[in-house]
């Protein structure tokens, strides 16, 4: 049984009160809160095992190395990958930059990269960087319901398209993209297929399939600590890539003018790694597996459906992204119109935005300890497509309940009537 009450107990921060009232945390898309189990695992690591990994021969170092490598195995098992296919990075952003820098040498002027209009800046800027080399960046369009326009995707998947890099679940629209279908199309075209899974691995069952060349995600968005991220790469891909950063740890042998590199994944982990982070992430994965990823997805879907129904009752609220909770994740971006404000402004010939600014919404909700994100959500091209300067955004995770959604909806109801 999935019981939010008991789950909440596992998260110390959710017991915190601000101005004598509980907090309603609705920003897990930005980062998630951490359960006691993860915090304990990190403390346990420092109290009992801390040593540098892969270097020293004494017992403590061997135990620390085991913990680190077992974490790698646990991450691999979680997404259906082999241990040696998991590279630890700092976050999704670093994983995608690693790819941009290491794939660059195999690309030439006139080659193309295909992404979509709903990407996070993390999956835009590493590729835009290559435009300086004469490589062309194409954006597959979204339709008016916030779905990826598959026909446009197909049209833009050209002979020269060397890389296709697509977000699995949008951090704004919530849209879940059909990555199996997209990866088949990309492979038929001979393109490298990359998944930005920052918002999917944490929220739904996720297995890599043979058409995925690389997958990137962040530990901190899935109950793990900050500063640990993952790059999955198919074994033969990783073996053929040149290293990204160079230094300690990632070598087999160094001569004065010659080096041979370690095998992957260590080849991509120059310098002392974030062992604490890997251990914490592994504990987070154990926690999620105890809950069951199917249950996590179902829970979020129910909350999303409920919130969208509540929002539909408020004519001042505009929601972005798909209407069907089935096809979207637990993130709801919205704007609020204040008709009274607008009417008054019109009378006096002053131009005001159609919507109350999202920061004002977030500040207003902050007064009631309801924490939502506001602004462009690191997706400015998407904001341009939607023709807004920003939105407010509420997002759910394992510890949210219907009351959280109810409080949000009713507070927003108060705005319209004042």
């Amino acid at each position: 049984m999935y019981d939010v009450r008991t789950i909440r107990e596992d998260f110390p921060i959710l017991n915190r009160e601000v101005n004598g009232k509980r907090i309603v945390y609705l920003d897990s898309t930005a980062t998630t809160q951490k359960p006691r189990k993860v915090i304990d695992a990190i403390v346990d690591y420092y109290e009992n095992y801390n040593a540098n990994v892969h270097r020293s021969v004494y017992k403590l170092a061997a135990e620390a190395t085991d913990l680190y490598e077992n974490a790698r195995k646990n991450v691999g098992d979680f997404i259906g990958a082999k241990q040696e296919e998991i590279v630890f990075t700092r976050n999704t952003t670093e994983s995608l930059n690693l790819l941009s820098y290491t794939l660059e040498s195999s690309m030439k002027k006139g080659d193309r990269i295909l992404i979509s209009e709903m990407e996070h800046h993390s999956n835009i800027l590493p590729w835009m960087r290559l435009e300086e080399k004469g490589i062309l960046l194409d954006y597959a369009k979204i339709d008016s319901n916030g779905y990826l326009d598959i026909e446009d995707f197909k049209k833009k998947l050209k002979k020269e398209t060397r890389i296709v890099s697509i977000v699995h679940q949008s951090n704004v629209l919530g849209t879940i993209n059909p990555i199996d279908e997209l990866s088949s199309l990309a492979k038929e075209n001979g393109s490298i297929f990359i998944v930005d899974a920052a918002q999917s691995v944490p929220h739904m069952p996720f297995r890599v399939n043979e058409n995925f060349d690389y997958v990137a995600f962040s530990g901190h968005k899935m109950l793990g600590p900050l500063g640990i991220g993952v790059l999955y790469g198919k074994r033969e891909n990783l073996e053929n890539l040149q290293p990204f950063l160079r230094g300690g740890e990632m070598i087999k042998d160094v001569d004065f003018h010659k080096v041979s590199f370690e095998d992957s994944p260590i080849k991509f982990e120059a310098g002392t790694p974030n062992v604490e982070g890997a251990v914490g992430l592994s504990a987070a994965i154990d926690y999620l597996q105890d809950l069951g990823m199917d249950n996590v997805r179902t829970h979020e879907k129910q909350l999303t459906k409920y919130l969208m129904l509540k929002f539909a009752d408020n004519k001042n609220i505009t929601v972005y992204g798909p209407n069907e909770a089935e096809k979207r994740g637990g993130v709801v971006a919205f704007n609020v119109k204040n008709s009274q404000l607008l009417r008054k402004a019109k009378n006096e010939g002053i131009r005001l935005d159609d919507f109350i600014h999202s920061h004002d919404i977030a500040s207003f909700l902050d007064d009631s300890n309801v924490y939502v994100r506001s602004g462009h959500h690191c997706a400015q091209p998407l904001m341009r497509t939607l023709k807004v300067t920003g939105t407010a955004r509420a997002s759910f995770y394992v510890y949210n309940d219907f009351e959280d959604a109810e409080i949000l909806a009713s507070k927003l109801g108060d705005i319209g009537v004042q």
């Binding site: 002053i350 109350i356 600014h357 500040s363």
Partner: protein, 120 residues
């Protein structure tokens, strides 16, 4: 949403629009918010003779722009540029949380460019 003074200013800004005469025009955008403010300033003998603004943005940045114009009018450019940001924020009609400082300080940041423009 904030308090009456702020909401009243937001709906009835005193300094919205171009003044009859201006010799400096400044545009400022806030990257994190998509706010956009355009100031029009008439400087005479080193003093702000007239000032107005146009643009759109959050309530805090709009009200701040209006209040800023009110306080700048009649002062010397040095005085206005020298405005202490902490003091400015503390005198704002509602408390400004750390996450909203940029919204409130947008006009100050923008006005600093007046000196560069005057040198040209």
């Amino acid at each position: 949403m904030y308090n009456d003074e702020v909401m009243e200013r937001y709906q009835n800004p005193r300094f919205y629009g171009k003044p009859g005469k201006y010799n400096i025009s400044l545009e400022e955008s806030s990257t994190t918010c998509g706010d956009h403010i355009h100031f029009y300033i008439e400087i005479e003998d080193g003093k702000v003779k007239d000032i107005g603004f146009e643009g759109n943005g959050c309530i805090i940045s709009m009200v701040s722009s209006d209040l800023f114009c009110e306080s700048a009018r009649g002062k010397t450019v040095e005085e206005v540029v020298g405005t202490d940001p902490d003091k400015y924020v503390s005198e704002f009609p509602v408390p400004i949380s750390p996450g909203r400082l940029n919204c409130a300080l947008l006009p100050l940041k923008s006005f600093k460019k007046v000196q560069e423009k005057l040198k040209k």
